[in-house]
Amino acid sequence: MSTAARRRLMRDFKRLQEDPPAGVSGAPGENNIMVWNAVIFGPHDTPFEDGTFKLTMEFSEEYPNKPPVVKFLSKMFHPNIYADGGICLDILQNRWSPTYDVSAILTSIQSLLSDPNPNSPANSMAAQLFKENRREYEKRVKACVEQSWCDD
């Protein structure tokens, strides 16, 4: 069945393949275009470097008028990522605009990894370490990076 949301997701996929942004990739699930799997590679010169973090994106029929639900499958240690993988990012909530596509969402999440916002913490432990004990923070992040290579 072809709906506005599905047509738009096909376009998003086409754009992601033709003009792939650095360090992110994503594709719709095999039998459901409304659920995507994506991978974000940890940005260079950050403690997340070399990590391969897996995510799922669930779109509704109201996409792009409503944002998708995006969650990390890999275990993360980051001030704006909840323990269940949920992401606290303004453009995925109240500042969503229908002009964003999958590639824009993934690059925004990637830049969230390099620039956390400790003022709206989803993980208070990570936020506190990020502000007060950067070495311990980096150690915990490195542990997540190593774990991200193992889980499948």
Partner: protein, 329 residues
């Protein structure tokens, strides 16, 4: 207690002078213009702070918020002055036949709740008319009732407005003691405030000030703040109207700051729609921000969110302009 007062005041003031139709129309006009003013203020606030979710909510349910404010304000005025705010403002008071029960409730029902229902129906009609015109699909039964409503409602509206006009004319000619539908239905007449009633109002004002109950106190102080604001506001507005009509040839400065131009996203190419990212079909311009979309895409978004998809400026379907260019077919 308040009801007994109400009836007494009605009986004692039956001999007071009959107000002129202009006084009545002016007070009715004020009554009707407060709600749109409230909506306008909300819209202005929303333009300034377009990411505030509280304001979004307030604006979305603006009719309901106004209903609550209006109910508390008017019940305070009815209890204290036997009149609506706008009527008291023009020196009028309501008098009931002594055999009528629940005068305050009747007044609220016909002067506050009835206009609210009418306003809501108007909005429903507006949105249904548009969805019929767009051919947005629904089920068979819904489709039928929608069409039926859209055909019948204009007649109901015509009868409603026609009755108002008829009553106003009948009142002017002295054939009717009611000048509008709400007073006719509530079975009350409006009269000028007499000095006798004036002193009674002051007594009641004092009494309510000295009462110890908390909730009425909150409502009263809220109503008084609003009253003060509206009264000063109305005077200032009248004064400015007068002043501006005298100095119309003098150019006034802009009353609000012009918002910054939105950042143009380089992703938005010359031929694709920013929402569906496909080639634009039925090119439509959103005049508030200047962006061009597919008609279907932008209408769907505006109905859900009531703002520009790119700049978040508040917008509705009225600011859409269909583009006819030679390049697009």
């Amino acid at each position: 207690m308040a009801q007994a007062n109400f009836i007494n005041a009605g009986v004692t003031s039956t001999s007071s002078p009959r107000p002129s139709i202009f006084q009545l129309l002016a007070s009715g006009g004020l009554h009707r213009s407060i709600c749109p003013a409230f909506e306008h203020i909300l819209r202005l606030l929303k333009t300034r702070h377009h990411s505030s979710q509280a304001l979004d909510l307030l604006y979305k349910y603006c009719d309901e918020f106004w209903l609550l404010i209006d109910l508390s304000l008017e019940s305070y005025y009815l209890k204290t002055y036997n009149a609506l705010f706008s009527e008291h403002f023009y020196g009028l008071t309501r008098s009931f036949k002594s055999n009528q029960r629940h005068p305050i409730l009747r007044s609220l029902l016909f002067s506050v709740i009835l206009p609210y229902v009418k306003r809501k129906l108007d909005r429903v009609f507006e949105s249904l008319r548009e969805s019929v015109a767009d051919g947005v699909p629904t089920s068979k039964i819904l489709e039928f009732s929608r069409l039926y409503f859209v055909r019948v409602y204009p007649y109901i509206h015509m009868i409603y407005e026609g009755l108002h006009l008829f009553l106003a004319i009948a009142y002017t000619l002295g054939r009717s003691s009611y000048h509008q539908l709400s007073t006719q239905l509530a079975g009350l007449t409006l009269t000028q405030i007499t000095t006798e009633a004036q002193s009674q109002f002051q007594e009641r004002e004092l009494k309510s000030r000295n009462s110890a109950q908390i909730l009425p106190k909150i409502i009263r102080s809220f109503a008084q703040t609003l009253t003060f604001g509206l009264e000063t506001g109305s005077f200032i507005l009248q004064f400015f109207n007068h002043w501006q009509s005298r100095t119309e040839h003098i150019q006034m400065g802009p009353t609000s700051d012009i918002p910054d131009p939105p950042e143009i996203d380089p992703e938005i190419s010359k031929t694709t729609c920013p929402i569906c990212h496909g080639p634009r079909r039925t090119e439509t311009l959103l005049s508030i921000s200047g962006y061009v979309f597919c008609y279907v895409c932008v209408v769907k978004y505006l109905r859900q969110h009531g703002k520009c998809p790119i700049t978040n400026f508040p917008a509705n379907e009225d600011s859409l302009i269909r583009l006819y260019s030679q390049e697009s077919s």
